[in-house]
Amino acid sequence: HLSKAIRNIIDKVSRSRIVDKQLLNSIIIDLQRALLMSDVNVNTVLQISENIREKFEKSKLPEGIDKRKYILKLIYDELINLLGGEYSEELKIQTGKTNIFMFVGIQGSGKTTTVGKVAYMLKKRGLKVGIVCADTFRPAALQQLRQLVKEYNIPVYGEEGGEDAVKIALNGIEHFRKQGVDVILIDTSGRHKEEKGLLEEMKKLASAVNPTEIILVIDASIGQQAYSQAKAFHEATPIGSIIVTKLDGTAKGGGCLSAVAATGARIKYIGTGERIWDLEKFNPPSFVRRITG
């Protein structure tokens, strides 16, 4: 639908010799509607509209500048800006130390599967990786992790029937430090912003583990709650990176702009399937193209 909106915008602009206030308004309405259908946060959409309106009105466009291209560029720039820039950025792995990454996110977002994928990716690059299952709540969480990485010889530390996530995490870290691994990935239980007790547990876990970075895993199809949910996670435990999952579906991923806005973290990778290799580097321009059709 955003591609239809962009086409509408292009048609409108190309049919008129000048882009007057009325045309600009109708273009902005088209754009707003399309961004909302892509699940971009309402306040963000209003902000983008204001920015585009302001820039366009202030701009002293020289004669002969293609107004269509200019409006499209303004839209593109706004969205790229929200993502923190055009460049791709990966997880920073420091050599010579034990890098600890803790994965958090809402129930069912894809944390456990993503832990497996990140472990596989880092192992292929020659790093020694260990996984710790600190999810003491979900039935068969440990078995799920073990099955995910079984054929790739990635060790998983967990305590069957364990109830203390902090204790298990610390035991797991010590276990892998002794083995001299480069990277430890910690899987945690799903939780959302209304579950204050679980947010508290996540805080305790983070302060005990003292991770190199906390990674927020978020489902691409999340709607208008994205901002407030991400903000709640960030206020409990500062988020360093974001991974967006399930982009092999039809979700446009507009909610993920909000996750970036709420945490100040950049999206590093995206999940594009259920297999262990279905993880790609995040590419801002192609993500913007997806949101804008």
Binding site: R33, L36, M37, S38, D39, V42, L46, I106, Q107, G108, S109, G110, T113, G116, F137, R138, P139, A140, A141, Q143, Q144, L145, Q147, L148, H192, K193, E194, E195, D219, S221, I222, G223, Q224, Q225, Q229, K246, D248, G249, T250, A251, K252, G254, G255, E274
Partner: protein, 286 residues
């Protein structure tokens, strides 16, 4: 006085921001507000009417209309009883489908508990033979709830596990069979074909689409494709405790006119609630 177009648009714009912020789908919001707009454009209103309050009450009425007009919310007990009466010896078969991670397995455990507490003899069919840990996950629920389960090997044909479960149910006098399936993207042709086959073999009395309450506009696309390709009868929306505004519930009923049977409101077995439009409307309009 006459309600001017400019004034009307200004208030409707504000209301649309509110509805969309509460996760009502854009097209549903458009439909609600354009209806109101058509009713009111150029109409006469009391001289000192508080237009904003008046519009807000019209929106409430519209939502109530969407949730309650020409749609019935059957109690699952009556659906089951009807079947047990009309076809004795045949279990009531419920097939669950939905995209990855929405809450199917947990919802099935909750519903199994709900039905067992009401005296039904429930059998679980673990027809997710794909996802890591899926069989163990449902088996642990079965064990905790003391509910029998039929499972297969990883990689087995999900339809054949369902078939075995149904045969077992008939032979042993189970009233209800709940069929869990692997999460799947509505964009995956092969997995859609697999689901069609499961449905062909199992011949369910009720097919339930499970959705995540936090999903945005994509929920509409998911439901649309699943309905066109596989066909389903009702919704269960899980994780409503994460989004108390519940705008998605309005969008689903408006777009598909199918009932929401239950909502999931947490991760414990008791965290399942019969969806009643009256109760919901009271909550969403506080």
């Amino acid at each position: 006085r006459t309600l001017s177009e400019e004034e009307l648009n200004r208030y409707l714009q504000q209301l649309s921001i509110e509805l969309i912020s509460n996760n009502v789908a854009v097209e549903t919001c458009d439909a609600i507000l354009s209806n109101i707009r058509d009713q009111l454009l150029g109409s006469k209103v009391k001289r000192f009417l508080n237009v904003e309050e008046y519009l807000r009450s019209l929106v409430k009425d519209a939502i109530i209309g969407i949730l309650k007009e020409d749609i019935s919310y059957p109690r699952i007990e009556s659906l089951i009883s009807e079947k047990l009466k009309s076809s004795p010896g045949e279990p009531f078969i419920i097939l669950f489908l939905g995209v990855n991670g929405v809450g199917k397995t947990t919802t099935i455990a909750k519903l199994a508990n709900y039905l067992r507490k009401r005296g039904y003899k429930v059998l679980l069919s673990c027809s997710d033979t794909f996802r890591a840990g899926a069989i163990e996950q449902l088996s642990i629920h079965a064990q905790r709830l003391n509910i029998p389960i039929i499972k297969g090997e990883y990689g087995a044909d999900p339809a054949s596990v369902a078939f075995n479960a149904i045969e077992h149910a008939k032979a042993r006098g189970f009233n209800v069979v709940l069929i869990d399936t692997a999460g799947r993207m509505h964009t995956d042709r092969n997995l859609l074909e697999e689901m069609k086959k499961i449905k062909r073999v199992a011949k369910p009395d009720l097919t339930v689409l499970v959705l995540d309450a936090l999903t945005g506009n994509d929920a509409i696309y998911q439901a649309d494709i699943f309905d066109k390709e596989v066909g389903f009868d009702a919704f269960i929306v899980a994780k409503c405790d994460a989004d108390d505004k519940g705008g998605i519930l309005i969008s689903l009923i408006y777009t598909f006119k199918k009932p929401i049977l239950f909502i999931g409101i947490g991760q414990s077995y008791d965290d399942i609630e019969v969806f009643t439009p009256d109760h919901f409307v009271k909550k969403i309009l506080e």
